[in-house]
């Protein structure tokens, strides 16, 4: 990490680094091939500020109603040393939770650095693993190596020790109605929890313990039906863990990406910002819109150069990897001779164009003729 760290600091300019949060992690797992996001996240760039400075502010506003509701629910579950949470774990899930201790690892006073907070998390968890002391650890600050750089994660979760094993407890304010919740929200929660499980496992391994002491079963705590009453659901995140581990291993190392970039590149807000951002290649897909602050800028860029990826992955797949709209249309109308590897795609596109023209000509011939 030491040889890329100075470069990363320069990239960020004068602003302090941002910790990874739920959104960057979601982006990380949904679009691992994007160099632009990779470099900016590794450097801890404030992408929201960058996107705003570029004239493409991210549409990720949060309604105060949603925030109030989320906070109220979390506060309710954690009130009185997590009394309601413990009732849930004991009664609903039938867990044998003996005596209870609650440690909040969030710093209340002062501007303690994240290194210090992380070492506090380490210290407390080390003691817990040695002695079995402590039950609930709120707001741990975790560290995960991403593309060769340490990234700090500030999960809004509780690490829960039970019978020598650690579980992740995630509190979410989306409702579980009759045992069912919105699949996208559950999937997002599972992806996030998997990241935390992985980071906890790495920490446990660093402390000289068996990483399997962090369970792959996480507990999702959500409001039940239309009430504020919490319900807890165990969620097996093994599939998400496997995906995440594979993607992290495959991620292009950030130092390899940096080596390709001009030495004086900086994402400091200013006149050359757009050019700097464009210097790092993006891989835009519409899914970015739900996770990445840079998405609207990248979409504009992708549309301007006629990238088929801007229409969605399925369109891109249907086109057999033809990258631009212009090329695909030229292959379809026969004005472009395909290279050998595109011969099959071109044949299909030409057939599609012929069939569309035939069907539309037959049915709308009169209308089209009239318009012309």
């Amino acid at each position: 990490m030491t040889d890329t760290a100075p470069d990363l600091d320069r990239l960020r300019g004068a602003t302090p680094p941002r910790n990874h949060d739920a959104r960057t992690i979601a982006a990380l797992t949904s679009n691992p091939g994007c160099a632009r996001r990779g470099v900016m996240d590794a450097a801890g760039v404030d992408k929201d500020a960058v996107a705003r400075a570029l004239g493409f502010p991210a549409p990720f506003g949060q309604s105060q109603f949603a925030i109030t509701r989320g906070n109220a629910f979390e506060a309710q579950v954690k009130a009185d040393g997590c009394a309601e949470l413990l009732t849930l774990l004991r009664d609903r899930l039938g867990l044998d939770v003996p005596e209870v201790a609650y440690d909040d690892l969030e710093v209340v006073a002062g501007n303690e650095g994240r290194e210090l907070r992380h070492s506090r998390t380490r210290r407390l968890l080390a003691r817990a693993l040695e002695s079995g002391e402590g039950t609930l650890f709120d707001h741990p600050l975790l560290r995960l190596e991403i593309a060769g750089c340490p990234a700090y994660l500030e999960p809004d979760v509780i690490a829960f020790q039970l019978a020598g094993r650690l579980h992740v407890i995630e509190i979410k304010s989306f409702a579980v109605v009759d045992g069912q919740a919105e699949p996208e929200q559950v999937a997002a929660a599972a992806r996030q929890s998997a990241v935390y499980v992985l980071a906890l496992r790495r920490l446990v391994a660093e402390l000289g313990h068996d990483p399997a002491r962090v369970s792959h079963d996480v507990f999702l705590v959500c409001p039940e039906n239309f009430s504020n009453r919490p319900t807890a659901t165990p969620l097996d995140v093994r599939p998400q863990l496997a995906v995440l581990e594979r993607q992290l291993a495959r991620l292009t190392r950030v130092d390899a990406l940096l080596a390709e970039l001009p030495a004086d590149l900086s994402f400091e807000i200013g006149g050359t910002l757009a050019a700097s951002v464009r210097a790092v290649e993006a891989r835009y897909s519409p899914e970015c819109l739900s996770g990445c602050e840079m998405a609207l800028f990248c979409r504009d860029e992708a549309r301007a150069c006629g990238a088929t990826g801007a229409l969605g992955r399925s369109v891109r797949d249907d086109l057999g990897g033809v990258d631009t709209v212009g090329t695909a249309l030229a292959l379809a109308d026969g004005s472009l001779e395909p290279s050998d590897d595109l011969a099959e795609t071109a044949e299909q596109l030409r057939a599609a164009a012929r069939l569309r023209a035939e069907a539309l000509g037959g049915a709308l011939g009169g209308a089209l003729g009239g318009a012309a």
Binding site: G61, S63, F174, D178, S227, E287, G312, L355, R356
Partner: protein, 490 residues
């Protein structure tokens, strides 16, 4: 998504305007559908905030919950909405048709018409579903009594949401889905979820092209979201202060009037879009099997309406046998719907031609009088050779039918060199010479396909009391409890 619709998207990008994906309308649009544009409070599962509803563009009713966290106001809203929706249901029955009696001689009827609900997007459908779930178990007496119309509304909304899952049903339509069935835009399907952007591509305002109209549609100030989720900035800067002012001033105050007017401001643009979209869909000629599918919808409506009084609210989760039967019904409906759309619409059939499950072209050779005399009795078996450029992926021996007249059936004899040789087997009359006009002639354009409408037979399922032990055995009888009625709705 297929290569054909992907190509349509590319063409839309190049043209700056949406491109047709259908040449006929594949859904039913009655004269007076009930358009519903719901809004909910952010962060809550199904806390209604407002709804704009009505059956004509100039007849919008606005219902508002001035303090969405107040349970009594929510139920008052539910009662008002119930009056509106139930009135629509009762006035959309039409004349009663007498049908021939059933197998056991029972009397069968069918309503001449059925109600239709139109919401802007899938979120609207999900909202109605949850709204139905949160109201259908309510009790009309006891300590948590609600207006008698509330649980009735809940059951009807649940039924509509359930029918929405049914492929080809037009009882509850999400406008974005209905439009996407007929047009391809130059943006991704994710972005098509925004009704204003989608309409921007299909029917942009004067002086704008598709991309410009879609870009405008993404600005929540110019085009408020079509719900049910509101724009967060609107929530923070307009709605929250307006609700707080109402809390201070109370019912009937000017603050309530103001709250209604800001919510109307959020809903009205979507209301107008909905009716413009209805107009666009109405302008398309109706597909040939749309009336048949609407008849199935009318059957379902008649049945539910007739048995409403004897039935309990729909279960929270289907018992195993009902779940299996429902899944089977959905699969059959999907299969029939896919085939019907292809037979109705050459542009949909083109997708199957590209897949190789159908082929079209010109008849190059024809022997209409050929007889097969190998059996005991001679059979009429005309031969037909169709020249085609399509990538046919059917095997010799496959049974196919004529897309224009599915009764005309044939068997593929050989495929090769840009042509398909067919032996016609049925649909030409009962004599040894074909009925006039039944067999295509040399030079005719034809299309044959292996698609069939009823390939999926009905399966048998055990009765409820015979649910096998593998599926938990017979489920217990439902009995309404006080707990249902007391369920919080906060």
């Amino acid at each position: 998504m297929s290569a054909l619709s992907s190509l349509a998207r590319l063409q839309a990008v190049a043209a700056g305007a949406a491109q047709p994906l259908a040449t006929v309308r594949h859904c039913h649009i009655p004269d007076a559908p009930l358009v519903l544009v719901p809004l909910k409070l952010a962060g809550e599962a199904a806390a209604p905030l407002a709804v704009m509803a009505g059956s004509a563009p100039d007849d919008a009713t606005l219902l508002v919950v001035p303090q969405p966290r107040n349970r009594d106001l929510r139920f008052a809203f539910a009662a008002d909405l119930a009056e509106l929706v139930l009135n629509h249901i009762e006035t959309s029955r039409g004349e009663v048709e007498e049908l021939p009696p059933g197998k056991e001689g029972e009397k069968r009827i069918r309503y001449g018409d059925a109600p239709q609900l139109l919401v802007p997007n899938r979120g609207g459908v999900a909202f109605l579903r949850l709204m139905g779930r949160s109201t259908r178990f309510r009790s009309t007496d006891g300590p948590y009594a609600v207006d008698p119309a509330v649980p009735v509304l809940g059951r009807w909304l649940t039924w509509f949401a359930d029918r929405h899952d049914h492929p080809g049903s037009s009882l509850l339509l999400a406008m974005t889905e209905a439009l996407r069935l007929h047009w391809a835009t130059g943006q991704s399907s994710l972005e098509d979820g925004n009704l204003a952007a989608l309409m921007g591509w299909i029917d942009p305002p004067d002086g704008m092209d598709g991309p410009a109209a879609a870009a405008r549609a993404e600005d929540p100030v110019l085009c408020p979201p079509a719900g049910p989720t509101t724009d967060p900035t609107f929530d923070n800067e307009v709605l929250a202060p307006a609700i707080a002012a109402y809390d201070r001033a109370g019912r009937g105050s000017r603050a309530e009037e103001r709250l209604r007017s800001v919510l109307a401001g959020q809903l009205a643009p979507t209301w107008d879009l909905m009716w413009r979209a209805v107009g666009l869909l109405r302008a398309l000629p109706e597909g040939a099997s749309v009336p048949r599918r609407w008849e199935r919808d009318r059957d379902a409506f008649t049945h539910y309406h007739q048995t409403f009084g004897e039935a309990y609210p729909q279960a929270r989760r289907d018992p195993p046998v009902r779940a299996a039967r429902r899944l089977h019904d959905l699969e059959r409906a999907q299969d029939a719907y896919d085939a019907q759309r292809a037979f109705d619409d050459p542009l949909v059939m083109a997708e199957h031609r590209l897949d190789g499950r159908a082929f079209g072209g010109t008849v190059t050779e024809c022997d209409p009088a050929r007889l097969d005399e190998t059996g005991k009795r001679p059979k009429l078996r005309p031969l037909l050779r169709v020249g085609t450029e399509d990538p046919v992926r059917l095997d010799a021996g496959t049974t196919v039918c004529n897309a224009a007249r599915p009764a005309l059936k044939g068997r593929i004899v050989e495929i090769g060199d840009g042509s398909v040789l067919l032996e016609l087997t049925g649909g030409m009359g009962r004599k040894l010479t074909p009925e006039p006009g039944a067999v295509p002639r040399v030079g005719d354009r034809v299309c044959f396909t292996s698609l069939t409408e009823g390939s999926f037979g009905a399966a048998k399922f055990p009765d409820r009391e015979d649910t096998p032990w593998t599926h938990g055995g017979p489920p217990g009888e439902y009995a309404p409890t006080d707990e249902d009625a007391a369920e919080e709705w906060s």
